[in-house]
């Protein structure tokens, strides 16, 4: 049992002979935006694959809504309320925006077809650029617009938890700014978000809580606003240069695990 919305407990996994996660544990409480930070190759995205069920955990457990879902298939986890915004967005290029959204609502339409119309209209309202390009093929849209579509698609199944993997990669600063606002708005509607992001400042702006991962383990966890900036800077290999900007946004440190 677990009292968090989502919890990873001592998960280790990897590919073939290489172990990537060595007993990684972190948790996301209801209504929170949790960020997972770390350098390239630290295993951030791999941990999301375990959360989603795409990658089996060699050992350890995954809890969602308090239930042990380690052995559960991807489809079932989505049905229980886990929405995804995959790495590199992975929108369906040959489908129109609406078809992408309709597919995003696959589990919703199986649960309760009548709600589909209202959820769709609600989202189109909130994402005007998608409303304009409703019948445009997703493949022909810009990186930023595709990111919006991916987020909207993730929300179409009215998830309790939205898992977002490196949304800012390859986006222009302007698009990153828009994405930041969108995530803020989405969070206000009460959706819990688990965010993996390589862009440190972006994460610190968005997340409430931060878990720092290094070589497959969580080495630091703290509420944004009272982070031990030097330790965080060191873990993130950002060095003293950036600690100045970190200080501005993180008042007091929290004891590490």
């Amino acid at each position: 049992m677990s009292d968090y919305l989502l919890e990873l407990r001592d998960v280790s996994t990897g590919f073939g002979a290489n172990t990537v996660l060595h007993g990684c544990s972190y948790h996301v409480s209801k209504g929170e935006i949790a960020g997972v930070l770390g350098l390239n190759g630290a295993g951030k995205s791999v941990s999301l694959k375990v959360v989603a069920g795409l990658l089996p955990a060699w050992s350890g457990q995954v809890f969602f809504l308090g239930e042990d879902v380690t052995k559960m298939s991807v489809e079932e986890r989505v049905a229980r309320g886990m929405g995804h915004v995959p790495q590199g967005r992975q929108v369906f290029p040959d489908f129109t925006v609406e078809e992408n959204l309709r597919l995003g609502a696959y589990t919703l339409r199986r649960r309760d077809k009548s709600r589909y119309k209202s959820v769709l209209d609600g989202l189109l309202e909130r994402f005007p650029i998608l409303a304009e390009r409703r019948d445009q093929l997703a493949g022909t849209m810009s990186g930023g617009q595709q990111a919006m579509l991916a987020v909207a698609r993730g929300l179409m199944s009215e998830p309790k938890l939205l898992v977002i993997d490196e949304p800012s990669a390859g986006l222009s600063p302007v698009a990153v700014q828009e994405l930041f606002e969108t995530l803020k708005v989405v969070h206000e509607t009460g959706v819990t978000i688990l965010l993996v992001e390589q862009n440190v400042t972006f994460s610190l702006k968005v997340a409430d809580r931060v878990h720092i991962m290094q070589r497959g383990q969580i080495v630091y966890e703290g509420i944004v606003g009272n982070l031990d900036t030097d330790k965080v800077a060191d873990y993130l290999g950002v060095g003293r240069l950036l600690s100045k900007s970190l200080k501005a946004s993180a008042p007091e440190p929290v004891v590490t695990r």
Binding site: G41, A42, N199, V200, G237, L241
Partner: protein
């Protein structure tokens, strides 16, 4: 870089035994002892003729399977129409020996040449095709041969076919099956020696590298296109000879003998034999060939069941061991070996990079112009690369001076690796130029650039992961293997000498890295840090002038990154090499680099010495999305 051909490769290691001189002579005696008895006990009860016939069929299957193994097992080029080459060889030899009564050996020779020619015709399109598309082309080729050329009456007699006489040695005709079995066994020894010469020279290693990843092969200076054609030509010639030998054994072939629909379908059966035997493992393939050839003949009561059992076995083996039986055997062997290797490993922190090998410049290297220290080694002017409308690299320019470590930093997707690929030749830029030692790189193919002295590492470890550490070091010296291919195939003295020199150099490099324990462990089983180290060693083994390193610190612990800095300085100062380095780890960059270029959205945002860049934190800030605040 994912495995482009999507093909599960097991190294040629398998359970082949390595030949030393003493073993060679022993082998010759074994061959003679195998060949002579069938002659002496011709059709006496000891070796009744139909037993001899069946064994001879088994041996021909081995020859056919070995020919496909060169193409599919070693070079990874998927040929599902190999039966066509068998047919070409059989008909070529048949035409010469039945009507104009030429000696069979002449027929076999011509068959080899004709087989090689047809393989060339199929090899050219193979240059541009990968995986399933190549497989489909080979099937199309086989059908084209079967439905048109093999049925062309003037050439093959159509459905009436051709008679293939038995060879003549002076007055002695190999008419008895036992005699022909002896004749075949001599060719088996010949094929085995030839195949062994492929695997132990640069040819086999180049094939393995091409099978694993063409970019890695090009990075080590392997001219991929010509080696692919070589694989097709060798395989086609061997298959033609094997087909002809089989034709002379059964004495008669017609338009349907090698057809796709015929029973057995040689093209698919040979693929099954090579795959079940474990790709690339010569002994595994030979055992599987014998099994498939002899089972239906000796177990007559099976009648029809043997194909059903065979098909189910194939499906089962593929489902459980994508790498084939020998692959499974190897995996078990390696698992035991790996546990032992990993055992010793966990004691030391594998990210401590010990000293890098200081090796003299190998003799066989092509001549390089004299370089003055500090002179501009690499000058890149406004290189632009666009992918589907998106400008990945936008008029980037940079210069690297001899003896410098130049850093190239920028966020994900800024175009750093694309620029590297443009310099290495894997990507065709729209415009701009890149001069190395005054030579324009843009009009050179990737492997030629490597030969000039540009070493390259890759983000996903540019090694042939299913080959052992030792073999990767040998492959890395491809540039220094100065003997021509034919000499390699005959393993002549000069080729042998060059190979021995390379072997010695590889062992020295491995010892310098302290990796003797893993000489024969496939790279796949090493830890990430160790693989990174082996890659660095391989690139350095031919002492290239310029090293392009793509994010060497990825996945390393802070302590290891510190150590990496040490090693990079060592490469520059002790080994006198020049480095162009893509890196995310800013402290490492600031600590090690002499000059830095900051790239974003394909443009060079800023460049300058480390101090200048360090003084402009907002440059790095922008790089980190500071503008967001």
């Amino acid at each position: 870089m994912t495995d482009i051909t999507g093909w599960p490769y097991e190294s040629g290691r398998g359970f082949n035994f390595r030949f030393t001189k003493r073993k060679l002579i022993a082998l010759a005696c074994i061959a003679a002892s195998i060949a002579v008895p069938p002659l002496l006990f011709r059709s006496t009860p000891f070796l009744p003729s139909h037993i001899a016939l069946n064994i001879a069929v088994g041996v021909s299957f081995i020859l056919m399977a070995l020919s496909l193994n060169v193409l599919l097992g070693y070079a990874g080029q998927i040929s599902l129409g190999h039966g066509a080459f068998l047919g070409v060889g059989a008909f070529a030899s048949g035409l010469l020996t039945s009507k104009p009564q030429l000696p069979v050996l002449v027929g076999l020779l011509v068959a080899a040449v004709v087989g090689a020619l047809f393989a060339l015709v199929l090899g050219v399109p193979a240059l541009r095709l990968r995986g399933l598309y190549l497989a489909v082309t080979t099937i199309a080729f086989a059908f084209m041969m079967e439905e048109s050329l093999f049925r062309w009456e003037p050439l093959t007699g159509g459905s009436a076919g051709l008679e293939l006489p038995r060879p003549l040695a002076g007055t002695f005709a190999f008419s008895q099956h036992a005699d022909y079995l002896a004749f075949l066994l001599v060719f088996l020894v010949g094929f085995w020696l030839f195949d062994q010469n492929i695997t132990r020279t640069k040819i086999g290693r180049a094939f393995n590298a091409i099978r694993w990843d063409e970019k890695v092969a090009q990075g080590f200076g392997v001219p991929v296109a010509s080696y692919k054609i070589l694989a097709f030509v060798l395989s086609g010639a061997l298959a033609a000879v094997a087909g002809a030998l089989y034709g002379h054994l059964i004495g008669f072939i017609n338009s349907e003998s090698f057809a796709f629909k015929s029973q057995p379908n040689y093209s698919l059966l040979l693929v099954i034999i090579v795959v079940i035997g474990g790709l690339g493992s010569r002994s595994g393939v030979a055992v599987a060939a014998l099994f498939y050839a002899l089972l239906p003949r000796f177990l007559e009561f099976l009648q029809g069941w043997e194909m059903i059992v065979g098909a189910v076995a194939l499906i089962d083996v593929m489902a459980r061991h994508p790498g084939g039986i020998a692959g499974a055997v190897r995996q078990r062997a390696e698992k035991r070996g790996e546990k032992k290797a990993r055992g010793d490993l966990s004691s030391t922190d594998d990210d401590e990079l010990p000293k890098l090998p200081k090796l003299p410049r190998p003799a066989g290297l092509p001549e390089r112009p004299e370089i003055l220290t500090g002179s501009a080694l690499l000058e890149v002017h406004d290189i632009s690369v666009t992918f589907g409308g998106l400008k990945a690299v936008d008029e980037a320019a940079l210069t690297v001076h001899q003896g410098q470590i130049v850093g190239l930093i920028g966020p994900n997707g800024a175009g750093k690796t694309t620029l590297f690929n443009a310099i290495s030749g894997f990507v065709k830029p729209e415009g701009g130029s890149a001069k190395f030692l005054g030579r324009e790189l843009m009009d050179l193919p990737p492997h030629a650039r490597a030969r000039l002295g540009i070493g390259r590492t890759f983000q996903q470890i540019g090694l042939t992961k299913d080959l052992s550490v030792n073999e990767n070091f040998l492959l890395a010296q491809h540039v220094a293997a100065d003997y021509p291919v034919p000499k390699g195939l005959l393993y002549t003295a000069s080729a042998g000498g060059s190979e021995r020199a390379m072997r010695k150099r590889a062992t020295d490099a491995i010892e310098a890295l302290g990796f003797e324990a893993f000489t024969d462990t496939p790279v796949r089983n090493l830890s990430h840090g160790q693989q990174r180290l082996v890659e660095l060693g391989c690139v350095l083994v031919t002492a290239p002038e310029l090293l392009l390193l793509d994010e060497p610190s990825a996945g390393m612990s802070p302590a290891a990154v510190e150590n990496l800095g040490e090693r990079l300085r060592e490469i520059r100062d002790d080994l006198g090499r020049t480095v162009l380095l893509i890196e995310h780890h800013i402290p490492l960059v600031l600590d090690v680099c002499d000059y830095i270029y900051v790239l974003n959205f394909g443009k060079v945002l800023a460049h300058g010495t480390t101090e200048e860049i360090a003084r402009q934190p907002e440059v790095i800030g922008a790089y980190f999305g500071e503008a967001v605040a």
